[in-house]
Symmetry: D2
Subunit: 342 residues, 4 copies
Amino acid sequence: MQAIVKESPAPGLTVATIPVPSVGPGEVLIAVRHAGVCGTDLHIADWDPWAQGRIRPPLVVGHEFAGEIVALGEGITELKQGQLVTAEGHIVCGHCLQCRTGNGHICKNTRIIGVDRDGAFAEFITMPATNVLTLDGIPTEVGAIMDPMGNAFHTVLTAEIPGSTVFVVGCGPIGCFAVGIARAAGAAQVIASDVNPKRLALAARMGAQVTIDASKHQVVQTVLDATGGEGADVVCEMSGVPQALHQAFAAVRMGGRVQLLGIPKGEVPVDFATEIIFKGITVYGVIGRKMYETWNQMRRFLTGGMFDPSPVITHTFPLAKIDDALAAIRSGDAGKVILEIA
Amino acid sequence: MQAIVKESPAPGLTVATIPVPSVGPGEVLIAVRHAGVCGTDLHIADWDPWAQGRIRPPLVVGHEFAGEIVALGEGITELKQGQLVTAEGHIVCGHCLQCRTGNGHICKNTRIIGVDRDGAFAEFITMPATNVLTLDGIPTEVGAIMDPMGNAFHTVLTAEIPGSTVFVVGCGPIGCFAVGIARAAGAAQVIASDVNPKRLALAARMGAQVTIDASKHQVVQTVLDATGGEGADVVCEMSGVPQALHQAFAAVRMGGRVQLLGIPKGEVPVDFATEIIFKGITVYGVIGRKMYETWNQMRRFLTGGMFDPSPVITHTFPLAKIDDALAAIRSGDAGKVILEIA
Amino acid sequence: MQAIVKESPAPGLTVATIPVPSVGPGEVLIAVRHAGVCGTDLHIADWDPWAQGRIRPPLVVGHEFAGEIVALGEGITELKQGQLVTAEGHIVCGHCLQCRTGNGHICKNTRIIGVDRDGAFAEFITMPATNVLTLDGIPTEVGAIMDPMGNAFHTVLTAEIPGSTVFVVGCGPIGCFAVGIARAAGAAQVIASDVNPKRLALAARMGAQVTIDASKHQVVQTVLDATGGEGADVVCEMSGVPQALHQAFAAVRMGGRVQLLGIPKGEVPVDFATEIIFKGITVYGVIGRKMYETWNQMRRFLTGGMFDPSPVITHTFPLAKIDDALAAIRSGDAGKVILEIA
Amino acid sequence: MQAIVKESPAPGLTVATIPVPSVGPGEVLIAVRHAGVCGTDLHIADWDPWAQGRIRPPLVVGHEFAGEIVALGEGITELKQGQLVTAEGHIVCGHCLQCRTGNGHICKNTRIIGVDRDGAFAEFITMPATNVLTLDGIPTEVGAIMDPMGNAFHTVLTAEIPGSTVFVVGCGPIGCFAVGIARAAGAAQVIASDVNPKRLALAARMGAQVTIDASKHQVVQTVLDATGGEGADVVCEMSGVPQALHQAFAAVRMGGRVQLLGIPKGEVPVDFATEIIFKGITVYGVIGRKMYETWNQMRRFLTGGMFDPSPVITHTFPLAKIDDALAAIRSGDAGKVILEIA
């Protein structure tokens, strides 16, 4: 089969022909139809320090995908051939306390497809059946991006949204998803900030009532003005930019909640007294997707027609054009970039 | 001033002329513009056993209203003359543990306007400033029904709504409000049942995707069919009808939540084993409105344009036509009936 | 091996010799050391209407036990031979939404050992590895009763206990466990009621500061007096007696929480208005043990020395003396009755 | 009356004779019996940059106290002369959204006694009746330190404690209170760290099962070893020391909770990715005491005999010996230092 492979510990990705994986007990074989390209794939392609420390080539990359079940391993009764599915890319141990209490997203033994084992930029992938979610009518283009969309659902829905004011900091694809999810979940007002006008326009299209160009306007003051001087009830930090992180803490109201998803590079100096403690706020670190509460919620929003993520998909490439896909992400203007595989 | 008065311990209400109340320290005087008529007012008019046990005539009735502040008592700094306002009709002690922990809605020393002290079917009413809420642009027609609408907000928003399936049992005004609130708060699906086609039509207009005529169809089976056999995540019981109460327990999913607002007359036999315990459900008794969390949420939904209760207002009468207003309620076909006072 | 078997659809249990079960993939074989006898076993022995509807003989009965792992099925890596273990007796499907979100205790496909498949009153039993919990130093006598003790932990720890007043209604073994757990979890005051002085004495020994003989004293008034007139913050109903159920609702404070574990026979008439709705309370139906949050909490309490259930174990019999064990339960004076098997 | 006064914008405190304050409507006059001395008083005495920016002399200092009600202002019905009481020192506006929803501890209009208005190091103080809490048998020595003890209760009881492992970082008086509260609230294990052996001994006396001298031992590794490699479920950071803050994040388990009470001076560099986000933790900034939920819980723990804070009180001085009291705090070896006034 055709696949995108990290062949050696050096920059670059290769379009290679490799054997179709065999399907073991408790697994299914999935013919991939669409796959999402993520910043993580860029790090692996560029062979940055994180990739050098974590990736062991050769490796099929890619961790966001949807496709069709084409073979079932021994013991699978809850799934069947021909079903269109996506999958949680975090493969957890199932035995630790976290896994046994519905908190697999914080399993310490997590292995990620496309990072720690072969991934989804390929014509076929095997997955443990426990990780597979049926699409129930959701198109595979959308199914292919339910992994990052799930990060946005996890971020938004672990706060109390109905009637709240929500400030989304950073309007990359996950930020734009968050805007739409917050609106669909009953936020009274959604405010979004970014430095890129194209991304702000996309956030507005997803439902942000107020957008702030952080390169031109006072972010915190604008949020305060829009919220009667109180600040936002919930802030979703999706940028990882140090300055934006401080804006998140400054713009949240007393006793509010800051959800952290964006990953800053290196350390960020924090004034705990004024930014967190004296404000009486709660800060939550978002990792992965709740397994499988987030997936269930996401499927409900999508099949219920409450939330349409498709405007965020701005680019589609065939599998072999992975370099063009990565270039689109590097440009900074793209929403979500996906590969069409079959 | 003109007022609707329960003059003696016997059926009937009187349109009377009485003195404008004087305003004490910590109080405001409000010129009433609109007032909502409630089933409670019907009980008082009819002098039913509950009324006989609770009401001490003479009494100005009515507990749902909105109007304009026309005078301020001593010590009021947070409100001003000319503001359009509504008010929480439960006057609580402020000293008990519940009051001191933000749970005034369950204060044991609660006194209700129009029930335990003079009420709102009058040209003027005095209220403690703590109970007064500014309308911030909400019309007084809508402000006049924020008390029962607040019951619906309390019922819906104390459950986890985003992405949930919600079954509203009983489509009187509060049930119809609940339908719209659940949709606005991100319910994935709202199902509503009643025996009255007009009320079901109103529920559909408020956003119910599935309506069930309980006089003709199998209620529980319809809910199960609409929810993939699971049952509803959240059931809001707004009818107080014993049969409907059993439907609520039968239609909620394992581990789901039943919110009880409708008041059954007398005792209802319950099979605790199969209806509650073996289902692992949570049952919540809804009384009043959270003071003042519910009011704040409600104002956010209304001023944010997320929820429009106006289709539920089906009848408007002048103050003196209170008997016509009561008759409209008795007919069983009315949504919310209001009085226009000034 | 020797086992207690329900051989035919008629009253009685038999001490029989049957083959040791074989161990399949994902299972372990456990040599049972101690087993707990439960009211459910009594229903099966007596062949009451519930048993007639549910049990399909022949069946090895018993669902509470602890023992030693003596063989591992294929694919088991997280357990090993020689470990002392107990097990959750509810075998759930693992595929439904509830199972996939950490809520296996409300899986609709639950099968119970000793009820729906062969159980634990035997020298050996096979269990799915997922259901097995290591004892980590807890004696097998105590391990054998972690199933009902887990009901008590589930009941108590799903309420907010630190600083609360807790009223335990019914001082059978699970009620007595609940008393001790509530004290260990920081209840400010624990009150317990029963009609049996021996059980009340056991409740006192487990830590109840106030005990009420319901056959002699006004239960509700005593609770009100002990709580400054407020009522208890949390009521744990462990009796299933209709009169006690009403006492539970009457004795809980406004806005409090009633945890229902005791199973009433048949229907109980409830005045929803005064018992639930106007009190603004929350009622929770307790089924099984949270899988596996409750088990983890229970292990922490036991290994941390915070809670000693051993006073509740009042009788121990050899396996063959099952009839004596059942007689001890029937007497109404027993605490927990266990079988010593190896 | 005699009082400790900050007379001018310069270092030092003065023992002065000033008029007894007059009692206004809604206020009570309290004869102070005991008062607690706090690090804040030290800052004011030393006239450090914080004090220079906030304090407007002349001012009676002191914000922790208990005493006897000796006069009632107009309109007070819920309190009476002769009652022994303490008081919440944060005087809030009562009108903002936070105040109206039971969250007065994050009122933006808070004024603190002994900081923003005259305080408690005096023979008499007036307080709004809403801030006054009756002692119900708690000695005034203990009542005098319920303000800082309330910080510890707020810190501990906003986490889920029963069955949890709790790591208290920093064993000053509030840390030592936290140790005892966590044990009383059902923590399975309490670990405490400090650099001062006297404080660690006090923590052990308050119930810490593991104490770590951070000047000699590997703090994080010791916590991991004591928790089976998982880390603590709940970490209470009471030191404000940057290094200890990093230990708090490193020692909490995946998905755990870090409660921040200690105030670092200046900024602390944080690696959000590894310290917060990838761990999926929740961080909560603790300010003041929940008004008045924390006070109610605290009174329950104290009157229920669940928690004895008296070992933490290491020094008592007469009012005039304020300089000796401050010196005891400066030494770093003191637990809680109190003034005996009447």
